[in-house]
Symmetry: C2
Subunit: 133 residues, 2 copies
C-alpha cells in the first residue's frame, strides 16, 4: 500500500536539494526516514513534512520553529501531550504570517509604483548632451 518509499537520491531530485540538506534536517529532528540497513528510505509522510519545511523556510521561519510546528500536521500520531502548546505556537505564527502578508502587499504596491516612476525618467544615456543631434 504505502510502497511509495524513495531513496535519498530520488528525494533530492524531487525537491531540488542535496543529500547533505536531508541529513541535516534529519539531524535536526525535522525528518525521520526509515532505514533499510544503513540506507535512508523516505515515505509519503517524510515528503509531506519536507514540503512544509521548505514552505516555512521560504518565509524565513527558523528550522527550530518549523520543528515545533510540524507536530501540528501529524494529528494522526500519539504524543499529543504537547498539542495545546503547539496550537498556541501555531496561532502566534499565524498572526505573524498575516502581518507579513500585509506588509508584503504594501511592499509590492510601493515597488510597483517606484518602478513606474523610474521608467518615466529621462533616459540617462543623455548624459552630458541632452539635446544632441
Amino acid at each position: 500500500m504505502s510502497d511509495d518509499l524513495m531513496g535519498i537520491r530520488a528525494m533530492c531530485e524531487m525537491f531540488d536539494l542535496t543529500p547533505r540538506t536531508l541529513r541535516f534536517y534529519e539531524q535536526k529532528d525535522l525528518l525521520s526516514p526509515l532505514r533499510e540497513g544503513q540506507r535512508r528510505l523516505y515515505s509519503r509522510r517524510d515528503r509531506a513534512r519536507l514540503k512544509l519545511i521548505l514552505r516555512g523556510r521560504r518565509f524565513g521561519v527558523s528550522l527550530e520553529e518549523i520543528r515545533e510546528l510540524l507536530d501540528l500536521y501529524d494529528l494522526a500520531d500519539q504524543k499529543h501531550l504537547q498539542l495545546p502548546r503547539t496550537i498556541e505556537l501555531a496561532e502566534r505564527r499565524l498572526a505573524e504570517m498575516r502581518a507579513q502578508r500585509d506588509e508584503l502587499d504594501r511592499a509590492i504596491v510601493d515597488l510597483t509604483d517606484q518602478i513606474a516612476l523610474a521608467r518615466a525618467l529621462p533616459d540617462p544615456q543623455d548624459h552630458d548632451h541632452p539635446n544632441a543631434a
Copy 2:
C-alpha cells in the same frame, strides 16, 4: 529645514536595533550618514532607506540585493547610469514577491485549517482512561 538629524542612539531606539547593526549596514554601503567630527548623524533619507532595508530583511532579501535595489528609491540622485539594470532587478524581485505572497496565502489557509482540526481533537488529558468517572 532638514534639521531632522538624529544621533545613533535615537536611531537605535526608533528602529529597535543596535548601534552595531547601523554601523554594519553602513559598512555594507546601505547607509551613509553624515559626520559631525566622528559622530554619525542620520538624516531623513537615511531613515527612509533604513525602513526599506528592514522591510526587505523581513522578506528574506539579502542585504546585498537590498543594496542593489535601494538605488531605485533615490530617483532624485545622480549616478543613474545603472538605472535600467536596477529596474530589471526590481521587476524580478517584484515577481518573486508576488509568488511569495501567493504561497504565503496558501500557507495561511492551510495553517488555519490545521489549527481548526487540532482544536477538534479529543482532549489529550484523557490519556489512559477516556471514560473515567
